[in-house]
């Protein structure tokens, strides 16, 4: 459809701010690179985020999901540290384990055959701080009917709490399951990449707190280069399981503004393996809606055609 300029909805888009109506001299696109290979699972990011953004607590529940009692990103959790305990061979399985591996840790007693000389790579404890991806093509932003969700001058995707009317459309449109409505408030919330701090040139709270530089903040273009180098370094060290996630500007969301270095398949961390922005198909959707509307109109007309009973 001609209203959609090329690349606005799908595919590589190198200047997302310009596409969103900002002048050429807008600031560079900012983002996160979360290197999970150095994450120690301390959850400082979760707390620093809440302290800065006044996000309420999200309930007290011992989940048994390793040390993850936060469970998932949501309206009151904008950073979420996943903990994955993987035993067995040191390397991640290429496809699947032959059994669903979402059992709780230790669900399969090993008994006498359990190896006792640990440090043999028999056990991996993966940690990863998840966050809103600030997609190049953001489903939440596309579907928001009020303009509450908008693209900032930094290329990030932010909910404006003074506008949001809590329609909830964004919730269904996020291919990562990030954004959600806060029940007692009614509005949608998610990571703002500390929009307010960015305006003053400050680092987002989570990245500032992160003790081990697992969460790195900066210009997206630079972060991508850094991530490429880090991946190369890890591959040279023989960490073949390392891969970048959300780095590729050609992927289904045009690349993430917050991307990751993972040590296993994305779904192991609760991430979709190949997310696509729903709006990629909006042209097709409207086309079919149009035809269907015409069909309905036609049915209406046809109903009055013919002899009168």
């Amino acid at each position: 459809m001609s209203i959609f300029s090329e690349r606005s909805l799908w595919g590589r888009l190198d200047d997302v701010q310009h596409d969103a109506g900002y002048d050429e001299d807008h600031p560079p696109r900012m983002g996160f690179f979360t290197d999970t290979s150095v994450c120690i699972g301390c959850k400082a990011c979760e707390v620093a985020c809440k302290e800065w953004n006044d996000v309420p607590d999200d309930g007290y529940l011992l989940t048994g999901m390793s040390y993850d009692n936060t469970q998932a990103l949501g309206a009151s959790t904008w950073r979420h540290v996943a903990f994955v305990e993987k035993s067995g061979a040191g390397a991640a399985p290429a496809v699947d384990l032959g059994m669903p591996s979402f059992d709780l840790p230790g669900a399969h007693p090993h008994g006498e055959d359990q190896a006792t000389e640990s440090g043999d790579g028999a056990l991996r404890w993966l940690m990863s701080s998840d966050v809103c991806k600030h997609c190049t093509h953001a489903g939440c932003l596309d579907v928001c009917p009020t303009g509450a969700l908008f693209r900032t001058e930094f290329g990030t995707v932010v909910v404006q709490p003074d506008v949001c009317n809590g329609c909830g459309y964004c919730v269904s449109a996020c291919p990562y399951g990030v954004i959600d409505l806060r029940k007692d408030d009614g509005r949608a919330f998610k990571c703002t990449l500390c929009y307010d701090r960015l305006k003053e040139g400050q680092t987002p709270a989570c990245a500032q707190a992160c003790p081990t530089e697992s969460i790195q903040f900066g210009e997206l273009s630079e972060l991508r280069e850094r991530a490429d180098r880090r991946l190369e370094e890890l591959h040279e060290k023989g960490v073949d399981v390392a891969r970048l996630y959300g780095r590729d500007p050609e992927d289904g969301v045009g690349g993430d503004g917050a991307f990751f270095l993972l040590l296993d398949e994305p779904e192991v961390y609760g991430l979709p393996p190949d997310p696509v922005v729903p709006t990629r198909d909006i042209g097709s959707v409207w086309k079919h809606v149009g035809i269907a509307a015409a069909t309905l109109f036609g049915v209406g007309v046809a109903s009055f055609v013919g002899r009168r009973k």
Partner: protein, 316 residues
């Protein structure tokens, strides 16, 4: 039908079996009702204008009221669903072609105004010419109103909805036609209800064909086949078939049968919307609907190279 998937249960990894997507926060019954009411109102507006043109005053009256009433009740349902209802007007803050809800708001607002004005004029007899003009407007906005709701659910990351984005508009168009036709069959004398019967019949056929195409989509369509949404979809289909049979055989002869068939169409239409809605919820709640198709797509991409991104690939 036994509840089982048509493809072998795939093996996949996930994070403690947790869902990847968020479950849509849209409330039941607000939103499925809204889907239904939009269809009813939109198709009724067409029916009303047809009736007006063809001189069927009782059909016109019922259809006009159905259009206005559906639009009003639908708007109420929609506003009620909002987390901040007082900010309903923010829906008109921008016009976003990427957001079916935004587009829908710019359809619903004029439609509701036109349909309301037309119905008011009809009922009160005031400003009949303007009322007719409004009726034309409503008829123009009616079909989009009835079908845009398909875009509303299709343009999401919910696999069961998104993967049906080509078919859902037709399901919704057919479902709307059934509802409008069904309601008129219930309330309009036999001699004026023929267009309503025809609309319901054709709508039912449209919906059945489109629904069938959806259910054949493999794993992503599994939620339409199993569990509660599966039962709802089967009920709706069966209801449509029964109502259509009755309508075709005796719809024009028996007032009672016509009314029963009409009510069955209505029930079918409502049930379809709940079925589609709940299939989406179920689809969001199980990570396999996200992981498995996406892994398959990645695998195809690896083997098939760049061709994978072309239109027509399931998006998952």
């Amino acid at each position: 039908m036994r509840e089982q998937s048509m493809v072998p249960e795939p093996e996949f990894e996930s994070y403690y079996g947790r869902q990847i997507l968020k479950t849509p926060t849209w409330k039941t019954p607000d939103v499925p009702l809204y889907l239904f009411l939009g269809g009813l109102a939109g198709a009724s507006a067409v029916l009303a204008e047809g009736a007006a043109l063809s001189g069927r005053p009782q059909l016109e009256r019922v259809a006009r009221l159905a259009a206005a009433g559906g639009a009003t009740a639908g708007t109420v349902a929609l506003v009620h669903d909002l987390g901040r209802p007082e900010r309903f007007l923010n829906m008109l803050r921008v016009f976003k072609p990427t957001s079916p809800l935004s587009v829908g708001s710019f359809i619903l607002a004029p439609f509701a105004s036109f349909a309301g004005a037309a119905a008011a004029s009809q009922v009160t007899g005031v400003l009949p010419r303007l009322g007719r003009l409004a009726g034309v407007g409503a008829a123009a906005f009616g079909p989009p109103l009835a079908t845009y709701t398909a875009a509303l659910v299709a343009n999401t990351a919910i696999p069961a909805w998104h993967e049906a984005h080509r078919e859902l508009p037709f399901v919704f168009a057919g479902s709307g036609a059934q509802a409008a036709g069904g309601l008129a069959m219930m309330l309009v004398p036999l001699d004026q209800a023929a267009p309503a019967r025809r609309m319901a019949l054709v709508g039912a056929a449209l919906e059945l064909v489109a629904s069938e195409r959806i259910t054949k989509k493999g794993l992503v369509a599994e939620p339409y086949r199993i569990g509660r949404p599966g039962r709802l979809m089967r009920f709706a289909r069966n209801a449509s078939v029964v109502a259509s049979g009755a309508t075709a055989l005796a719809g024009g002869r028996s007032r009672v049968l016509s009314a029963v068939a009409g009510a069955t169409y209505l029930a079918s239409s409502v049930t379809t919307r709940f079925g589609v809605f709940e299939a989406g919820l179920a689809s969001a709640k199980d990570p396999k609907y996200v992981v498995v198709p996406q892994k398959e797509r990645l695998a195809r991409k690896e083997t098939g190279g760049a061709a994978a991104h072309t239109e027509g690939q399931p998006a998952g």
